[in-house]
Symmetry: C2
Subunit: 232 residues, 2 copies
Amino acid sequence: MSKALVVLSGGQDSTTCLYWAINEFGRENVSSLSFDYGQRHKIELDAAKKVSEIAAVAHEILPIDTFSALGGNALTDDIEVEEETAETSDSEEESILPNTFVPGRNLVFLTFAAAYAYQRSIKHLVTGVAQTDYSGYPDCRENTLSSLEQTLRLGMEYDITIHTPLMNLNKSDTVALSEKLGAMDAMAYTHTCYNGEQPPCGHCQACLLRAKGFSEANRADPLIERFQFFKD
Amino acid sequence: MSKALVVLSGGQDSTTCLYWAINEFGRENVSSLSFDYGQRHKIELDAAKKVSEIAAVAHEILPIDTFSALGGNALTDDIEVEEETAETSDSEEESILPNTFVPGRNLVFLTFAAAYAYQRSIKHLVTGVAQTDYSGYPDCRENTLSSLEQTLRLGMEYDITIHTPLMNLNKSDTVALSEKLGAMDAMAYTHTCYNGEQPPCGHCQACLLRAKGFSEANRADPLIERFQFFKD
């Protein structure tokens, strides 16, 4: 029996990955992990919790206080826009990378996740990084993830695999995949908006990119539908 | 001007590395970093602070609370003997590895150190790991460290180098090196004892291994001398 751990930000991509993992490993073998790293919008963590409930998998939140100490004020500023970066990698565009890239963050998260996985005899890590939309993020690229996997295997003497099911998909492909995997009920509770708004603001880059993906996939966004339902 | 960051546990090996870095990069370009990860003996952090003062380099302590959450009770138990592991890698022997190895810990520390270094335009990391005495620790081996360096370079798009000046030295070699580098004043304030005692207990594995190194190098241990001076 293989066990898998999904690094879950509560966004569109990691939620799709959660359902990918359920499909791949069986629901009873999948759990999810989120990081509380001082992100501006705690709504992300609420979304991750809710998504895990809907998917009926165990979920844990691990605090990483260290990020606020890492870089002094400069990084604290970075952290204030961190919901735009890799972990909730649903939502960024290359044009905003210089403002939101926190170097090494994704490496830290995945290394922590690997250490956590080791303690629980979990041999499969699943992460929603994609080099298609975010090729500017070096820690989301395939060669980085391959190198990290090798480092973790050597450093822990442990046969761990990092799965990146979305690595080469665009947003529209991801929407199609999430539909195929039955993730749409959970998708209604994901969080994407940069401004932390609920219902989503609809005009930030994250909301626009998400909307573009659903539009190209010819699918209504269940998140938008959920709020329209209440509004009507 | 190259700048270097030494990961400093306050033990014999990392202190030697601090002086190695000063010799290599110039004192004004060297700083040190310690991690407060809930180690049983806070005396380690006091030692790191004192050693940095004597070496006249800037020192910072970064909290990593996450370790206690990583593995539940099992890992908390591990953490209670953690001063015996990689970070204060001065002092362990292969025979005790299974009890003290916290998988992934050194990878997390070095990845954090790299993220910290990036924010400060520091391109050189120095760590006291050695595969000679601790070949049982996979995260202290040369191939792991090479792989990690590659991962960090790819993941941060940053030309960082991990230096491991003690990688292939035994304890006696390390004593000789620290003498040559003028590290003995600081060595008198390092901490090695597993039992957290000051003066060191003299009978734990850490104290015995340290004593063996000094003995084989035909050198009195300044730490022992310091307490003898007060006692006499």
